[in-house]
């Protein structure tokens, strides 16, 4: 019985950690446990959440995309330039989304056609797009018009727009991964690339699609971040790649491919990270302590995940005989 409870706890580790952190913060700060705060949390985490969804797709194929932050910056810089030049919002957003997909496709091209390691390709593209964006912005912060920021606070049938975007991205990604041939084939690739090739899966096409999706998600995340920040600074999008990876892995997605999910995994990971940060703000903690606490929690979550896997592996070890047979 106690063993079974332990296994349950281990299997649900991300969810339990989430509940535990939420409970602690609620006790420490009475303001924390409220609907408005919960909604706030979701709104604030929306940019990173969308980027993390794209990252989950990439991680499932045993790849990685380090260029997401730079894609956000490059797309954002172009969009800001267009907006400030008086072009319509629609055009700016379209350009930003187009940029994201285009940059993702370039990643895909280099990985699939030139057969380079994803780590290296996306690392290099991180430099390239950051350099490009610095050129576009002339290394200055670009302030967006006020009315643009209002998108972030606008509501659609009573629900803030970022939450609508957040929810739709998660719903679509979840359906794509669990219910479409495309999604299931991604899991297959992550499980064993060689087998996928032999089975005749459209490997190149799938990988292209994955990096394009990651670029697309980075662009959408970038738009959400812009509506919150109201400006494109040279630091825009920095470290998003690490935060997105951390969120996905916290939610149980493996860095080695084939294991993980956006729902509930990545969602929990994203909310956990955001909850920590806003919790610390509410507690009036020294802002310099945030990264330390966040790092500690990430480390703890990874430790939990590792020991969970070790214990589950131990348990699934084949038994030679069963106790009942011992007569």
């Amino acid at each position: 019985m106690r063993r079974r409870a332990l296994y349950f706890a281990l299997r649900q580790a991300p969810a339990l950690l989430f509940v535990a952190v939420a409970a602690i913060l609620s006790i420490l700060s009475p303001k924390f446990f409220s609907l408005s705060n919960a909604l706030n949390l979701v709104v604030q985490s929306a940019p990173i959440a969308v980027v993390a969804v794209g990252m989950t797709f990439v991680l499932l194929t045993a790849g990685v995309d380090l260029s997401v932050g730079a894609i956000m910056f490059a797309g954002g810089a172009l969009a800001a330039k267009l907006l400030l030049a008086g072009h319509s919002v629609a055009l700016a957003l379209l350009v930003m989304v187009g940029c994201g997909v285009f940059m993702g496709v370039i990643n895909g091209f280099l990985i699939v056609r030139a057969r380079l390691a994803p780590f290296i390709v996306t690392l290099a593209m991180l430099f390239v797009w950051r350099g490009f964006a610095l050129w576009v912005t002339e290394t200055r912060a670009m302030n967006l018009p006020d009315w643009f920021i209002q998108f972030g606070t606008a509501r659609l049938v009573g629900v803030p727009v970022p939450v609508v975007v957040f929810a739709s991205v998660f719903f679509l990604a979840h359906m794509a991964l669990t219910r479409t041939p495309f999604g299931r084939q991604l899991y297959a690739i992550g499980n064993n690339v060689e087998n996928a090739r032999k089975a005749g899966l459209p490997l190149n096409w799938l990988l292209f699609a994955v990096y394009a999706i990651s670029g697309l998600c980075a662009a959408i995340g970038g738009i959400l971040a812009l509506t919150q920040l109201g400006s494109v600074s040279p630091k825009f999008g920095e470290n998003y790649e690490f935060k997105a990876i951390a969120a996905a892995v916290l939610g149980g997605t493996s860095l080695f491919g084939g294991r993980g999910a956006v729902w509930p995994g990545t969602l929990l990971g994203v909310l956990l990270i955001q909850m920590l940060e806003s919790g610390l703000v509410m507690l009036n903690a020294d802002p310099y302590l945030y990264p330390i606490v966040t790092a500690a929690v990430i480390l703890f979550a990874v430790l939990l995940d590792t020991s969970r896997q070790a214990i589950l592996e131990q348990r699934s070890r084949r038994r030679i005989y069963h106790d009942a047979e011992r007569t």
């Binding site: 380079l116 290099a124 950051r130 350099g131 690490f242 860095l255 790092a295 430790l303 590792t306």
Partner: protein, 319 residues
Amino acid sequence: MTQLLRRVLLSDYFVLGLSLLYVAAVAPFTPGFVSAENFTNILSALLPLLVVALGQTIVLITGGIDLSVTAVIGLSSIVGAMAMNHETGWLAQSPIAAPAGVMIMLLVGASVGALNGIAVAIARMPAFMVTLASMMGFSGLAVWLTHAKTINALPSGFTMLGGHTMITLAIVLVVGICVHVFLRRSLWGRWLYAVGHNSRASHISGVPVGGITFFAYVASGLLAAMASVLYTGQTETGSPVLGQNILLDVIGATVIGGTSLFGGKGKVVWTLFGVLFLKLVDNSLNLLNLSIFAITIAKGAVILLAAYLDSLRNRFVAA
């Protein structure tokens, strides 16, 4: 013909040749590139980076990765400066301030490395996540210590180590030779490669896999701290954000040199040439008065090119 191409591509000196070619190609357009003064500049930029990259090489050989090196550089820089500055330091004006300060800095690096090592080797956590978290945590700690302020007024005996190119060269030379001999000739060095190739087979063959892995991270932390001594000396300032932007340079240079991200492959000379190549490109772009964005883009292109050449090399081996 293909035989010749093969030999060129697979040679240890491939990246060195590439660097020389680059110098020859760029020199005519870049005033002041080929000059004693500029080469000294390149050298002083290259030396500390090489030390960090050597640590990274050791970790990559075991099949791991260490993203926390930049945090180590910042943290040990600020802790060292807190310890030995003339004004508020614990060792202020003490005659042993410089040597004790260096020891403290190395100790900081080794401790961070040890924590990474425990998490990876004993708790068996994935290296990428562990060192990512420790990068965030320890650079946060470094900033928190002085609330983002820098510290000046360091003892001259200390700043000399990184500020005087010839002394730096001597130090790095000794470190490089030690790491080289360690990797090529020593028992633990050979075991590092075995662990990188196949840790299960190594374990069964009696190799202390946990100890070796732990050691690799400690060595990486230690070498990063050593680089921090040099960088801090160069700038004569203890700063918590020192080295913040060099992580991708470190990994890029190591991989350009030919060290594999999948373990089992790596050499000191490879990393030396990788760092050299990267710094040559960096320096020449600076001389051309290109803006920061062009330099950043060029760096990306160089990493891609190197990766492409590496994949060509691998295909040649396979063929």
